[in-house]
């Protein structure tokens, strides 16, 4: 978009008058970081409050998942392939970074395909890919499982912690714990899902939402559109990211997800168990399901005393309201995942706005 035009839009947002406080939630972790990084949040009128939602995959992954990962790797001497974000997240008793320092074979990959290649190149090692993500990454992970089957690989599996975002927002709204007037809806997730799965926000809860992209102009137009809907009291879900999001999403990607995965109940940090919000590997593909291939019982889950990541992910507090923020908890000594992940709200506040 024309930069001069974006600058004008920025002025409009900056000068927008809000008669009373408006509280909007950005669900997606990339939005959390981009609102800061682009400087758009700095332009918010005084009465506009941005609440960070449960949309950072690393942040909502519960301790129990990492505990299981570590237990499996130890018990079966497997190689763990993971995205970099997971490395420093504390588990109940350790972290992948600590385990790596003590000799566990943990390798950072940039794409699930790298993990698949690793399995081909190391036929004598079990490679487990830590599949942590949302609708956006699930198709790629389904594809590598199909690829692994096609190639007849017997030393490759994934440990699925894939989640679906709309059920989490539904759980959040039905709990009715915090006031949220409207939603900035994840653009990347919506490229896969389309608009339909978000309609419940308007239909069931009477609140508006705007599907938004990630550039400065996307964020500004998204927020302005949401403020317009709120002003007109229109409870609808609109799409301001038409360049990428089609009404029905990406049917091909959805079909691929559905071929390999099925919905299940899964645990979210802060939100607990949410029915239909997880993706587990279907029985047909169970040779590639590390959960089934490597039975293990990790020690009981232990939460970190004082960590309020859970409250944060429900929008109950903002990062500076956590007593540990910037005192005990910092990126070099993260107590909870929201300080570790580049999409975590604490990491964003720490990095961009600790005045």
């Amino acid at each position: 978009m024309n930069r001069e035009l974006v600058k004008k839009l920025a002025e409009v947002l900056k000068n927008r008058k809000l008669p009373e406080e408006v509280r909007i939630m950005e669900v997606c972790g990339t939005h959390t970081a981009e609102f800061f990084r682009t400087g758009v949040k700095d332009l918010f009128p005084e009465n506009l409050i941005l609440i960070d939602g449960p949309g950072c995959p690393v942040c909502v992954t519960p301790n129990s998942y990492l505990d299981l990962v570590i237990e499996i790797a130890k018990k079966y001497n497997a190689v763990l392939a993971t995205f970099g974000d997971m490395i420093k997240v504390p588990s109940s008793y350790s972290s992948l970074a600590k385990e790596k320092a003590e000799g566990m074979d943990i390798r950072i990959v940039y794409s699930p395909l790298d993990a698949l290649r690793m399995a081909e190149e190391n036929p004598d090692r079990e490679i487990i890919f830590l599949s942590v993500g949302f609708e956006t990454t699930a198709p790629a992970e389904a594809i590598i499982i199909m690829e692994a089957e096609k190639k007849g690989l017997t030393n490759f599996s994934i440990l699925s912690c894939n989640k679906l975002t709309p059920p989490a927002v539904d759980a959040l709204l039905s709990a009715d714990e915090v006031r949220i007037d409207g939603f900035i809806i994840p653009g990347h997730v919506s490229t896969i899902t389309g608009r339909e799965p978000w309609n419940f926000i308007a239909d069931k809860y009477g609140k508006p939402g705007v599907i938004s992209g990630f550039e400065s102009h996307d964020l500004i137009t998204g927020v302005l559109a949401l403020l317009d809907l709120l002003e007109k009291k229109e409870a609808v879900i609109t799409n301001e990211y038409k360049i990428a999001v089609r009404e029905n999403g990406n049917p091909h990607a959805l079909k691929i997800i559905d071929t390999v995965f099925e919905r299940c109940t899964t645990e979210w940090r802060g939100l607990g168990e949410i029915p239909g919000s997880g993706l587990r590997i279907r029985d047909e593909y169970s040779p590639f399901d590390a959960m089934k291939k490597f039975p293990a019982t990790p020690p009981p889950v232990k939460e970190h005393a004082g960590c309020r990541c859970g409250d944060l992910l429900r929008g109950v507090i903002t990062p500076p309201e956590c007593p540990l923020f910037d005192k005990v908890c910092s990126p070099e000594n993260a107590i909870g995942p929201c300080m570790v992940s580049s999409e975590g709200p604490c990491s964003a506040y720490y990095k961009y706005w600790r005045k």
């Binding site: 682009t38 995959p57 990347h188 910092s330 992940s341 005045k355």
Partner: protein
Amino acid sequence: MTATNNNAQKKILPGHGSGGKLMNDMISGMIKEILGKDSIQIDDSAVLDLSSGKIAFTTDSYTVTPIFFPGGDIGRLAVNGTVNDLAVMGAVPAFLSCSLILEEGFDFESFEKILISMRDAAKEAGVKIVTGDTKVVPNGKGDKIYINTSGIGIFTNEVQRREIRKGDKIIVSGTLGDHGITIMSLRNDLRFSSDLKSDCAPLNGLISEIIAKYPESVRFIRDATRGGLASVLNEITAGKDYSAGIIEDDIPISEEVKGICNLLGLDPLYVANEGKVVIIASPEDAEGIVRIMRNNEYGKDSSIIGEIDSLYPGKVYIKTFIGGKRLLPLLIEEQLPRIC
């Protein structure tokens, strides 16, 4: 060098570090042949004749994977890195040492290329390699080749640290992040087709031109290596009553670096450079300094990117193109690519 054809098969052996004939042949037949007869001494030390009262002395070790990359190699890096560390102090780089740690099995062809590259880089920067050493470590105990260079620079006129003041301008000598993103793309096999190359370059010429013309106006010079521009600016402002504010629109970054950074969730302002300086200069002469820099081949894209002010004392911030601000703190560690 006549051995080139054989060098494709020839490998470093433990004997090349033994002090015996193999080692002597390698030193006299290859290293001295390329780097010059005085590059490794028969005596235990080089004896230098310095007239100046004050010298700058620095050392740095170079370990990079891969050892060859678009825009340079570990040899060029090892010469330019140390040359630049001297130059940013205001010293004229004069002498370098060259200490090589070679891994058993490393091929002579690559070794020779690296030595030639060091020779060429030293020639370009106008420095002499005057002493050196080689050691061989067993296979698997090193990463092909590590190079340590120490350097001596001579002060032709007395330098003084000048106080940075509010209103001073922040200048960079060109596009940021080229070296780090080039290496990261290769190292992680990111398989982008890319024209991107490292900016590895000697900056002593550029710096001496600036100091010659504007001796009083330059308050601070530093090469923005590891940690990138943001880290250098944080060093400047830490604990001070001023902040450094930079303007997003004015910062030179190539479209390729922007694209790769976007994809991986990295911030180019924290990515390493090997041929860029950050200069803090008085507001009156900043434009003149940039004009001089742009005439040098290593400063073509020089720009004023911001200034010293008092908005967030002790901190560094950036004003994005839409006019919003955010902080650029010191990073805790290396940036990791994100999940989605």
